[in-house]
Structures are given as structure tokens and as C-alpha cells.
Amino acid sequence: MLTPRSALIDLGRYVELMGRVLTRPDRWRMFYRQYVTEMFQLGYNSIGIVLIISFFIGAVICLQIKLNIQSPWMPRMVVGYTTREIMLLEFSSSIMCLILAGKVGSNIASELGTMRITQQIDALDIMGVNSANYLILPKVAGLITIMPILVTFSVASGVLGAYATSLMGTTTVPELNEGFRYSFNQWFFWCGIIKAIVYAFIITTVSSYKGYTVVGGSVEVGKASTDAVVTSSILVLFADIFLTQILT
């Protein structure tokens, strides 16, 4: 049950955990090793899903606009222009991260939760290792590094998807070209990157918190994994409102 009291307790414990995570690693060589592994596991393994989803969404947005909005008294470039702006401003940053929150969030929470209930985290603590820092910081740093790249891939794949609709004869390449180039504002791309970095931080830290603090057995790990996805999705959307307001 989510009550104001339990939310405040959660917030306090989250902040306390972050205090232990965001410190200097005990040993940099171990940090780099984990960092590269996490970039690979969380980021590289998500490239496929990002490319596929973005390609289809790019195509669908393009079709929807062409079929529903364009009319003889609208300029030709509207289709390309609108598709580009939707991809850059919302889809490739916020919605993409929302989808990744499901994949990455449940992955992190179940991994850390299992380590907690099988006492692997206790084993780290007994050795005198800062377990929160050793386990969580590389995940945070890894996803923050890789997320901007995923966003860039997503935009590119969305544009390709839009071009693919010309193969169906619905749109034409010249009209898309014109739309994609029309009044391009580079800042919008950077907005997407900034948002992605913030979301990467939210997804990794919230999911890590849920997994790291599991008490109990496999049922609780499952619950933590669901909680991680739900909570980080809500927080991503919440952050989206503020970031959109601040950045544009």
C-alpha cells in the first residue's frame, strides 16, 4: 500500500542508498570492468529492440499524419516535419526510455534482488566492500553513457521507417526530404539527449533501490521487479513534464 508515510520512508531510504552509491569506487579497475559489462548488458543488448520499435513507430506516425492530417491546403512538408518533431521531442527520448524502463528495470531489480536473498550482497559487505557502490554505480554510469547513443539510433531508425512508407507509395521521398529539413532546430536533438540521461539515472537508481532492499524470498524478488518497472515508468513520465517545460 502506498501511503504518504511509506512514500516518505522509501524516499529517505533511497536518498540514503544513493549516498552510498555516489562515492568514489574502492578500486577503479573493478569499477571499469563492471562498467563495461553493464554497458554491454543494459545498453548493447537493447539496441535490437530500440531499432525495431523505432522503425515501426516512425513508419506509423508518418502514415497516420499523411492519411489523417494532410489535405490540399496544407504544405507538402507537413508529413516529414511532424514525424521528425515527434520522434525527436517525445518518442525517441521519453517513450523509448519508458519501454527500456520495462526491460532494464526488471533486469536490474531481479538481479540485485536475487543477490540479496542468496546473501551475495552480505558476502560483499563482510569483505568490507561498499556493495551499493560496487554493484549500482557501474549500472548507473553504464546506462547514462549508452542511453544517448540509443536515442540517436532510435531517431535514425524512425526516419528510416518513415522513408520506408514511400515504398508503399503512400508518401514520396522528395516530400519527406523537404519535411525533414524544414526549419530544423538542433536544440531539440540535445533536449532528447538531456532527457535520456535523466531517465537513465531514474531507471537505474530506482530499480537498483527496489532490488537492493529486497527482504524475503523469490516472491519478493518478483514483486520488486514489478515495482521497479511501475515506479520508474511513473517517475520517467513525471520527469518528462518538468523537463519539457524547462528545456523547450
Partner: protein, 256 residues
């Protein structure tokens, strides 16, 4: 030496440990024995700092563990090794990486030296050649031995083992016990073992603390356990028919 004075611990108002006093000697295998649920694991977790006692003192040689700062605790922990009831190996790492982990984390030696040390530790628990395997590919007894190798990699001064024999057959249990005893004597470690295995009590119990319902009822070496004048200890130790007959024979021999 580790000494414990007036240790109390309770959960939600239910007292699990009452006024425990105990001494664990250097270079000896110290056993904590008692029934399931008597509070052995809670006691050990207080000793290593996974739990904080409600009151009482825990002295590591001359250092007061309970009132230490976080920083000092972390430094002291680097002198500890622990073997968990479930082995708690890192399942994403190979066996060799598991044993090398504490070295990678805390040793400034070059890679080759760290690797050699890890291989030596594996050889010591008779597991040379399994370095490339993953924990899930090993049997329970082998996992326990890897856990021992990992715990001794940094040459600890204090070694904690929570039921190292649970889930193992009697023969494998004896192998593990002898390993622990050998390491303790050779490296002059203060070793503390939680157990309810009578073979261990008779085999390696150089100093035994008997805990019953959260109270330390009796302390002494296994050579004195037969003559201990404590009904609860007798009920616990000589619970099976065979052992009761051993006890009767012993008592008769002493009288007659």
C-alpha cells in the same frame, strides 16, 4: 581473540539473545552449538556486524566493534572471512574470479601474484583445476570449499562459518571440518563455527559455546562435554539413541 559481554538482541520486542557472554580463542576452532532456532545465526550476524546488537560489547582483540565508526568497521572487516550457510558465491563469476575477488578489491599486488594466490587457495581446498567452472556447475560440498578458499584468500585473522556442513553427507562434512581446523591451526586464525552437527562437536570442538533459547548455557572444550553437568546440554548433545548409550557407557566407566 574475540570476547563478547552482555550481548542482547531482540526483534520486534521478542528477545532472541539474552545476556550472552563468551570468549573465542586465537588459533582454535570455536563452536557455537544449539538447536535450530536457538539464535546461532543471529549471534554470528551480530559478531560480524550484519546486525547491530541492542546492547553489549564485542571486542576484537582490543578493538570495540560495536562503538566503532563505519570507516573503522570497514577496515576491520578486511581482516574477516566468512562462509555463509548458503555458500553465497557470486554466481556471475567463475570459481577463480570468486576466489580472486577479495584480492582484486583490496590487494595492490600485480595480476599474476593475485592469480597465483587464488590458485594456491583453491589447491588448499583440493579444488585445483576447477577455476574455470561456474558455481552452478559445482556440487554443494565443492561450493562450500570454494567459499572457504574465497574467505582465506586475504589471510584473515578471524574466520566465521555459518553451518559449513549443512546439507552435506557425513564424510564430506568431516573433510570440510578438517580443512577448517587445518587452516585455523596453520594460520593461527580465530575461527568461529556455527553447527548442530555432533561429528563436528566431537571432532573439532576445541572451545564450545552452547546456546539454548538465546542464552549461553555452557562453555568449554569437547573433552569436557561428556562430564558437563548441564541437563539441557545433555538433552541436546545426547539426543539420539546411539549417543545416549555412549553417554551411559561413559558415565558407568567413570563411576566404576
Amino acid at each position: 581473540m574475540i570476547s563478547v559481554q552482555h550481548l542482547y538482541k531482540s526483534f520486534d520486542g521478542r528477545t532472541v539473545l539474552h545476556d550472552i557472554n563468551a570468549r573465542f580463542d586465537n588459533g582454535k576452532v570455536n563452536l557455537i552449538i544449539g538447536q535450530s532456532g536457538s539464535g546461532k545465526t543471529v549471534f554470528m550476524n551480530n559478531l560480524v556486524g550484519l546486525l547491530t546488537p541492542d546492547s553489549g560489547t564485542i571486542m576484537y582483540d582490543d578493538r570495540d566493534f560495536v562503538s566503532m565508526s563505519k570507516r573503522e568497521k570497514i577496515l576491520l572487516r578486511r581482516e574477516m572471512g566468512m562462509i555463509f550457510q548458503s555458500a553465497a558465491l557470486f554466481d556471475s563469476m567463475s570459481v577463480l574470479d570468486n576466489v580472486m575477488f577479495p584480492l582484486n578489491m583490496f590487494s595492490d599486488k600485480p595480476y599474476d601474484d593475485r592469480r597465483r594466490r587464488a590458485e594456491d587457495c583453491l589447491a588448499r581446498v583440493n579444488l585445483s583445476g576447477t577455476g574455470g567452472k561456474f558455481p552452478k556447475e559445482l556440487s554443494g560440498g565443492m561450493q562450500k570449499r570454494v567459499a572457504i578458499a574465497r574467505a582465506i584468500a586475504l589471510e584473515p585473522r578471524y574466520l566465521f562459518c555459518d553451518e559449513p556442513n549443512s546439507g552435506l553427507d557425513p564424510k564430506t562434512s568431516i573433510v570440510i571440518d578438517e580443512l577448517i581446523q587445518g587452516i585455523t591451526h596453520e594460520d593461527h586464525i580465530t575461527t568461529i563455527v556455527n553447527t548442530h552437527d555432533m561429528n563436528s562437536v566431537m571432532g573439532i570442538g576445541e572451545n564450545i559455546i552452547f546456546i539454548c533459547e538465546g542464552r549461553a548455557e555452557w562453555q568449554g572444550p569437547n573433552t569436557e562435554i561428556m562430564d558437563a553437568d548441564n541437563q539441557r546440554l545433555d538433552d541436546f548433545i545426547f539426543a539420539s539413541d546411539i549417543l545416549r548409550q555412549v553417554k551411559l557407557a561413559h558415565d558407568e566407566a567413570r563411576r566404576g
